[in-house]
């Protein structure tokens, strides 16, 4: 196959050269629906949100006037910085846990599952058939104080608070569970592309199974690891359902803070400022992370 690749690439170049003349216009036409969607549902709300975040209060509660009040951001940060830190700790732990659970699973599906592969993939996405909210509620039952799991760990005296529900543990478990498929699927896609003969080649060249994994499989699966961790970490950081349903009031995350400010305090500028801060931090984290992982070097 590798020998064929250059040939295939060569002929592809010829084809694209011939098609180059009439390609631009078709390509732009095809872009219109997507761009329109992005414009209406992403750019417009984002701009509106940005202006909201700078609004100043009026005499009437819940009514704000256009202004350029940068202080909103400072207020938001001052008040909620511990919540930000907690959010990133929770979602960070959940991401690592999801990676640890997902990698062996994705590896198994990609290399060992044989004819069960399709079925296993369906099972991975099966949770999506039930509502996110419903499934998180189910975890309340599973982790309930009288439940089997809590009793079991209590018997071993492993729980500091003698319970799981309404503790950070439940929040992290919920996040891990809910975003696990977003970790498994990109990992699977990356692993599935790896030629299993590379494992044999590594073994033939004196690499023990572990070294072979470390030197060949792991680096080749890095694009999947990066994609999976981002797809888990980003939504987990902004999530508020898990903290609401599974955590105690003290376990609230940024998502909860935004939600309460919008819906309860009706402090729209602070809520908007929180959203923008969250977005900025995530963008910065992603940027540094991708730079570090050096995905552009990978095949």
């Amino acid at each position: 196959m590798p020998a064929l690749a250059p040939t295939a690439g060569g002929s592809a170049v010829v084809v694209s050269g011939a098609a180059a003349q009439r390609r631009p216009r078709t390509a732009y036409l095809l872009l219109i629906p997507g761009l329109a969607w992005l414009g209406i549902f992403f750019v417009v709300p984002l701009v509106s949100l940005f202006f909201t975040s700078l609004q100043a209060p009026t005499d009437r509660a819940g009514v704000y006037q256009p202004a350029f009040q940068v202080g909103n951001y400072l207020t938001a940060l001052q008040e909620y910085w511990p919540v930000f830190i907690k959010s990133f700790i929770y979602s960070g732990i959940a991401t690592v846990l999801a990676l640890v659970i997902a990698y062996p699973l994705a590896y198994f599906i990609a290399f060992r599952a044989g004819r069960w592969r399709a079925l296993l993939l369906v099972l991975v996405v099966a949770p999506f058939f039930a509502s996110f909210l419903l499934r998180t509620y189910a975890w309340r039952t599973i982790l309930a104080d009288e439940g089997f799991i809590t009793s079991f760990f209590n018997a071993l005296h492993l729980l500091p608070e003698n319970r799981i529900l309404n503790t950070p543990i439940a929040v992290v478990l919920g996040l891990t569970y809910n975003f696990l498929p977003f970790m498994i699927l990109p990992l699977y896609a990356a692993l599935e592309r790896i030629d299993p003969r590379l494992i044999e080649a590594a073994s033939d060249l004196y690499a023990s199974p572990f070294t072979g994994f470390r030197k060949v499989i792991w680096p080749l699966s890095l694009p999947g690891v990066v994609a999976g961790t981002l797809l888990t970490f980003i939504p987990a950081s902004g999530d508020y359902i898990n903290a609401t349903l599974l955590g105690a009031p003290s376990d609230r995350m940024v998502g909860n803070a935004i939600q309460t400010n919008f819906l309860q305090f009706r402090d729209y500028p602070i809520a908007s400022a929180l959203s923008f801060i969250l977005m900025a931090i995530i963008l910065a984290v992603v940027f540094v992370y991708i730079r570090r992982a050096g995905t552009e070097d990978l095949v």
Binding site: M1, P2, A3, L4, A5, P6, T7, D195, R197, L198, E200, A201, A202, S203, D204, L205, Y206, A207, S208, P209, T211, G212, K215, V216, P219, L220, L298, V299
Partner: protein
């Protein structure tokens, strides 16, 4: 590369591999030589597949149960299996690094020079042509100075011209480093050009093993006779002996051949001769005294420059192939009645194969 001390014999003792109920190769036809067990054999030697029975000896060490990453055997994979995320240098250095060899730069540079890829050291495999990738695969395996280098159809993915070039290249490298190469191929010409010893496998068994000339001149089974080059054969039965020769009768004709060139001395026998050993003359012309002869009618004559290839329909309805050097200008035409004759010492006798 003073590898002479690492030259070791490879012994495969009663090696068997079966998959579930059936033996690896029994269900596959001869015309798909890729399925006759070579790759499985190679994978067993490399340690990538566990044999069901038998032993693999490298030199005098039994390596049958040694893990593949501990065996001092390296493989050039059919698809090369180069590591796409590593550059050429690191691909070649991979084995050395795994064995914790400190200085890899020297050996790797030397090895890349041997396969004439020095300037490519920092490129990724995907940036190389098929022939170059193939050479990287050879270098990557060879740098470990293995006791045996296994090559699994290493030239299969290359076009004909490149393949010829690489055959010469591989032969040069082999002569230079002196390592034993076990080269699996379904290309019989490649086998004869490159090997010192050829083993022809069929249905998971070695049918015949020996130097190419020996196997070609004196095939010992019908499969070998037809797989390695072409053969004309006729089924007959041994009618008697005259001195050191066997006399065989078939379809009313009689053929003589030296007993030593036959695997049978009585009963049913397959008499064969290579097409280039045959001479073709017009019907009624003189035929040397002791020569075997077959009469027939030319059905096809194709002039190829150096020689003319005839197809002759024999009196019993088989088509024989004759390669005649173009020493005279008169070419026989389709429809001509002819006599095909050859010297008894070019004849070989084989067991009649069980109905295929």
């Amino acid at each position: 590369m003073a590898a002479t001390d690492s030259v070791q014999d490879l012994h495969l003792v009663n090696l068997v591999k079966s998959f579930g109920d059936f033996v690896a190769v029994d269900d596959l036809t001869l015309t798909i030589p890729a399925g006759c067990g070579k790759t499985t054999t190679l994978r067993m030697v490399a340690g990538l597949e566990d044999p069901t029975g038998g032993q693999i000896l490298l030199g005098s060490t039994d390596i049958t149960n040694e893990k593949s990453y501990k065996r001092h055997v390296n493989t050039v994979f059919q698809s090369y299996a180069l590591f796409p995320h590593l550059d050429i240098f690191e691909n070649v250095a991979f084995g050395l690094r795994r064995r914790r060899i400190k200085d890899v730069t020297g050996p790797v540079t030397q090895m890349l020079d041997l396969v004439e890829l020095g300037p490519m050291a920092r490129r990724k495999p995907a940036q190389l042509s098929g022939g170059q990738q193939q050479r990287v695969a050879v270098a990557r395996a060879l740098i470990n100075q293995p006791g045996v280098l296994l090559l699994d159809e290493p030239l299969g993915a290359l076009d004909l011209k490149l393949r010829r070039q690489m055959q010469i290249e591989l032969k040069r490298i082999q002569t230079e480093v002196g390592t034993t190469f076990v080269h699996v191929t379904h290309d019989q010409e490649e086998a004869m050009t490159m090997a010192d010893t050829v083993a022809v496998m069929n249905r998971g068994r070695i049918e015949q093993m020996g130097p190419p000339v020996e196997i070609y001149e004196l095939p010992r089974t019908a499969f070998v006779a037809n797989f390695l080059g072409q053969s004309n054969t006729v089924e007959g039965s041994v009618a008697g002996k005259s001195g050191d020769d066997l006399v065989v009768s078939a379809y009313g004709a009689s053929f003589t051949l030296p007993s030593a060139r036959s695997t049978r001395t009585d009963g049913a026998i397959l008499v064969g001769v290579r097409p280039e050993k045959l001479a073709i003359v017009a019907s009624g012309a003189a035929v040397p005294d002791r020569h075997n002869r077959v009469t027939g009618k030319v059905t096809d004559a194709s002039f190829t420059g150096v020689s003319t290839q005839y197809l002759v329909m024999t009196s019993w309805g088989d088509e024989w192939m004759v390669f005649e050097q173009n020493r005279s200008a008169d070419i026989l035409r389709p429809g001509d009645e002819v006599i095909v004759h050859w010297a008894p010492e070019h004849t070989f006798g084989l067991d009649v194969p069980a109905a295929a």
